[in-house]
């Protein structure tokens, strides 16, 4: 690679408008959830945790980790470094959203179940997935050779994503305190129209945030690889 091509390949330096818009959208959802959405009569204000908890869970499981599996599988087939960068970005952003799930869930659980945590199938498998994705990130940091790192990570990424269908079905397969889906189910959603609108807006805002994080993280990975190439050249 020539010196000039590193600059050409680097992502353009400009303010991240998408990240700004996504954060503003999340603030808008917070305002709507707190000020313009009714309090659920039986659960109280703690029910509002749903809007951030379920959105984060949906995005982590069905967007981030499914993307991780697809990009990893495609990497093993095509050996394109861009796919490895997409996979590592999806894993890290998914880890952030899963962290939010694991923080907000116990706060909601304490008000409804009277317990911060219960070792049931849904909660335990989600925590297990969080640890697997954490180990995925540690694996990436531990292997220096780029091709080998990408190959090992791709295999672990696919294995981690295999937990997603299990987590989804765990509430049907096992006796669990965690509620069944209230929106994504064949029958009519058990929510008032205002709550449903807030939930859908939250889902859109957090999906936008996911896209912004993914794009920013991909940019970081691209820059890191360019730096590594130049360091190798300088050595």
């Amino acid at each position: 690679m020539t010196h000039a091509s590193a600059t050409d390949l680097a992502p353009p330096r400009r303010p991240d408008a998408l990240l700004g818009i996504a954060l503003a959208a999340v603030v808008g959802v917070y305002v709507r959830a707190w000020a313009f959405t009714p309090i659920e009569a039986r659960q109280g204000a703690a029910q509002k945790i749903l809007y951030i908890h379920a959105s984060a869970a949906f995005i982590a499981l069905y967007l981030a980790f499914v993307l991780l599996a697809i990009a990893s599988a495609l990497y093993l087939w095509l050996k394109d470094e861009k796919l490895d960068r997409v996979a590592e970005s999806a894993a890290e952003v998914g880890l952030v959203f899963t962290t939010v799930v694991l923080i907000t869930g116990p706060l909601w659980g304490k008000t409804i179940w009277g317990a911060w945590w219960t070792w049931d199938a849904r909660l335990t498998s989600t925590l297990f997935l969080w640890f697997i994705i954490l180990s995925y990130s540690m694996l990436r940091g531990a292997v220096e050779d780029r091709a080998r790192r990408a190959r090992y990570s791709a295999v672990l990424g696919i294995l981690a994503a295999l937990l997603v269908p299990f987590i989804h079905l765990s509430v049907y397969m096992f006796r669990t305190l965690h509620p069944m889906p209230i929106l994504l189910k064949p029958s009519t959603p058990s929510m008032s129209p205002e709550m449903r609108t807030t939930f859908l807006l939250a889902f859109l805002a957090f999906t936008l945030l996911f896209a912004a994080f993914l794009r920013a993280r991909y940019r970081v990975a691209t820059l890191r690889d360019l730096v590594a190439d130049l360091e190798q050249e300088a050595a």
Partner: protein, 47 residues
Amino acid sequence: MTPDNAVFAAVAYTLASVVYLSYSLILVARERSFRAKLGQLESALRP
């Protein structure tokens, strides 16, 4: 009777905000750091 548990929701929203905002700042800082490093390496390789 509707339970008074707004503090749990407030804590959940606050902690979620801390996680998302911290990660945003971490991404911005990492990008700046790599850009600075890239600039240094390029000027070292191309005096």
